[in-house]
Subunit: 208 residues, 8 copies
């Protein structure tokens, strides 16, 4: 009766970043802006670190929603980038779905703005088509806690797995021995407490 | 094992507004009054915008519960309006159920006051009769977060989908190209942050 | 796949009040003491109002846990009162289970202190024996929100329905026409906002 | 040793609205946007209701800060409107100070975005020049509670009186008999709970 | 430079209860209704217990503000009761001030609804006339924490002492030996945790 | 359709303590450090009290993660202690799984740092292999409430039971008559409110 | 106009612990019990560490308030211990004041339960007699944040300095070179994060 | 009676950064780590931008407190850096005070970890010597909100002005015309919402 453990696998996973646009970000109020910016960039950095196929999409870039945040464009200069002409659910855009299918991956890691629409709709659609969907909750934002909770419950009930960028990174990496430095750097860049641990450690061992 | 994605469809949906009465509203304390008023009116406006059949009902208008908030009457002057003589669960009122069935819709979008009674009871009854029920969580209010959480869990376990008015509007609209101005106006009227984006945009492009 | 709507029914329901003892109450910190006291007494008053068979039980009354709060003894002078000699899960006490079975009811409305033990254990046991269990979340208390949330999830996953005393009262009453004054009095006594509505109403209509 | 009671007086007061611009509003996160929008408009409406001289000012309207929110322009079509070319502290702008002095008022009611800069700086400057300053705390917004608290303490220590728009309206009005309908309308438009009270009352008395 | 310790004294103190009306209470959202009701009644009970002259006042009883909560009328059947015809600041009503002066007391204990108006205005006026004012913060309520904090700061800066009903009772009583039973009863009636302590104690000592 | 009640049983249970390391603990911010330290030690003490086989594991002790907190080593001097060379999911470490299987227990009680990785991953793996898993939520910590909630939902959906150390102790003990003093001492050491109850009781009964 | 910096001085300071009794502690709800217990014991330990004269007092030990928490008696076996026969303000008890004056100290460090009575009253009295008073805010507890805030403001306005046990320890110690080990041990025992830092450090330097 | 407006002046101000060390940062729990890291670096960047003399100091770098965070060393490679051998109050270290006096500035902008010790002590000492002190509240951190509030009140009562890094930057800059690009870059780097405004603006105006 329980959900089986579908475990993230580097070889099976793609990342979808939906509507992280400069205008829309002003709607996000369920998470502190400093923390949210950091989480989104951490997710982007891990996608790059694990060389996961990544797909970017936006809604109405020319209008008030604003352009994709420039950092994401810089991190993924060659990623498929679908500027949707109007579809609210990105899954309704054929180019977007085709880009996903072209990756050949069955595990979709998704984050976006706002959670109950830009994340939830394609999540529900992807689940309905048999994909495994992993929602990166802390890189997705919305109006307030009430709307977030509603969205989480709807996606969870439909079979999505709720994760965080840190959990995603750890589940993909599997074993520190695969690369200590690279993952350590990723964490140092995006987790101030971890950076402090490393800096304390470095200083003490350097002094030996 | 997971809930399938039952997607809201303009052609299949009706809206139920249950007991948004001037007296009962003083019981609502799980959400700020300014935000709640806005959410309820936003839901009403979207019902009108999408021309969804809408049904109003109240409990004991003549007593301390007070009348339906006048704005709702103004927005839906011709909607079926069932002033229940005593049934707490609106679904126990035959006129109410008949009004719903008369719409021929199978997707019910519901909101009301208070969540664990006026929303939860008809939701559970409607689910038991095979309707798809979409609870508009942010246009429903109750005594406090604890009672809200209990109510949400009970409805969700029974199969209801938890949504927000913004999610409902987006899922119904499907594609901005269906009508940019109308939906934009709806959002501008009920989402201050969105209104600001639009106003900034308008000014800048007007200055070109 | 969803839980069916098992609806509370006056004729089928019994109430279990577990370990509301003067000492144990000092452990309850997930809810304000004024509100909690009111909720517990409201549940007791509704049990009496609907003449539901009610069973009281305590754990170690002679020790630091302290006696049952005197108000509950006064409200239910003749109710079965099982002072358990040591069983933590009240369901492990034969007298308690026998008292329940003697009522002949299949719907159990339960509340107690602390939620994850005194409420959750008998709830899980009762569900395992095929009872329908309705947890009155706001008349149950525990150490903090974290332990409460854990307990709610465990009970919900096992099939319990989470309700509040107000929801229970409304679902049992079904129709105001069964008795306006009695239920109105119950609400006036335990919901200050409702009392205010009634008092405003009374004054205005008396002035006519 | 205590601050004397400087009481707001219709004849002595002017209102300063500082930098309520569509871009800057996205920085405000210490208050819910629905509530904040309502508070700002309520302050504007009361300024108009009491016919207080009102001065508008903005910072860099042509840049990312965005234009003044259009509602304010509509409410005060003829008010002095100082688009500052660069001064951060509006008091450093001679036109602004002159506009204030031209009113001949010694009581300044101020609100703006963000609290610790656009409100605090002119407040401190005005106090230093001997004005009485009344900060409308709920029509002023900033990044978060921590920055707000710092700003409030700095202004209070310097002698500002912290008020809310409702307090300002009441202190200016003095006596309901001056005009029941007008003030009632103002409150009904901006306090949902008050509107509900009035609607309940109207219905009951209309039914007499 | 610091405020001197002006200590409450049974012989010098009077109590002012301002606008605790059934309609206005729906505006109070900075404190849980169960707790607020309890605090207001606790303050009333202590005023009666210490036989302090108490003055009641209301604003527009016949309109939407509603009547004084009936419990207060019952507790103080013979207290001066000033139904103000329109003055918002009760101190602007001559009867009210005269009733206060008729008590001959210089220490005023005040509580009311809403804090920044009905409490703050007469507090500031009374301080300006040389009274010592003690604001009972937990028996005064308002729209939200933001407006409360503003009001507290304004009154404190003007010289008011902020207290709670429990602090007031303790400072007036001075010594338990003056009357153990009476004060114990007052606390047992209004502090659930204290009632539990007493009940545990009674049971254990009765069992000796 | 509901989870059956799998009840903790002293004879069937083992405890897994994952990565409670001095460095990693600085990452835990969803729970107060005083409370968290107490909860972890309470879980350790109960494991010892019930003589449950307990397995300790750490990740990179020599690096910035730091050593296992010394208290745990002292409480379990002979427990299997697996210092993992790199596997992030402890279940990927054969020694760890073998140590678990060597206990012959099917009920696994697990806690660790951080919840969404060090707890969630082995929980999901163990469930997939048919173990019953009981997550001790209050002895597990992570970055913030958002990441905790995501992790809880993922584990719960996969079939884990969410408990607290107090619930675990009570479910294992079953009946106070098995040993009043031992369990009482455990609670007195880790629940200040309980300690107070006992101390009050002891004093009163000693005085008899 | 500002308070001068009266700096704590080992040679000038005495500690007053007021009414930390097992029954009264159940009233404290503005701080988590684990944290509060730790803070009170930390204050006691620092008083002992700096050999400050310490005075204990209780109110009605034989009644429901319960005895002084035993740990305090153990830490200060020879301290003056004034069991007050009835005075609520400890300063009204001559023995208490005499014990203080006998120390010859002018700096009083005070903590107790509950803040607005047992701490605030003697604080105000001591200030009135010219003592310097340092309130240890985190070792003092009360019913809720609202009552705490009121109490803090009243004491601060009267001239008390608000500190924490950690601040007190640091201000008394002045220089780590006076004794690294002793103060380090105090912090390690009462600040889990500090203990972790030390344990990480010890392990790394031991490994050199 | 009020504090005069001492306005920050580029020519008169120096910055003190006290004990932002990698170990001590794990004690900071009154502010989210992402936000805190950003605030500290923002303060450092503004000190550099305005070319304010800046002084760094640490306590026990070789021990568990850890080294100064490397970013600060990089930003201020030539700043006076006083590694205190033991003084807890940095003002007790002669080199530190001399370094300050050597700057010839009378306005001290201070931030550090933890607020009630490393910030409050030198703040109080500096005020006592006649300096004007501006505490950057959001670049200073401590154990929790309770200890922060105590510390703020103590410093404020002694005459410190509480500010934020954003307020400091704005008060120093005075007029955007002094340098739009530089300050804009500073804000864009440290205020995500501002960065979004700029990016939206740039895109729209570039498209013209």
């Amino acid at each position: 009766m329980n959900k089986p453990y579908v475990r993230l696998n580097k070889a099976d996973a793609a990342v979808l970043l939906v509507d992280h646009q400069t205008g829309l970000l002003s709607l996000v109020r369920d998470i502190d802006p400093d923390r949210f910016k950091n989480n989104v960039l951490a997710l982007a950095d891990l996608a790059k670190y694990f060389a996961l196929p990544t797909i970017l999409t936006t809604s109405f870039e020319q209008g008030p929603n604003g352009p994709l945040v420039p950092e994401l464009k810089e991190i993924f200069p060659k990623a498929p980038f679908i500027a949707r002409p109007g579809q609210i659910n990105a899954w309704d855009n054929e180019d977007f779905v085709q880009a996903i299918k072209a990756t050949g991956k069955k595990q979709l890691i998704i984050a976006g703005v706002v959670t109950e629409v830009c994340v939830a709709f394609p999540t529900l659609s992807a689940l309905a088509e048999g994909f495994d969907v992993f929602v990166v909750t802390d890189a997705s934002g919305t109006f307030n806690e009430l709307t977030r909770d509603s969205a989480w419950r709807r996606m969870e009930a439909a079979g999505a797995q709720l994760m965080t960028w840190f959990g995603v990174a750890c589940e993909l990496h599997r074993d520190w021995r695969n690369d200590i430095e690279g993952l350590g750097q990723l964490f140092s860049n995006h987790i101030p407490d971890y950076r402090n641990l490393i800096n304390s450690y470095m200083t003490l061992t350097a002094n030996k």
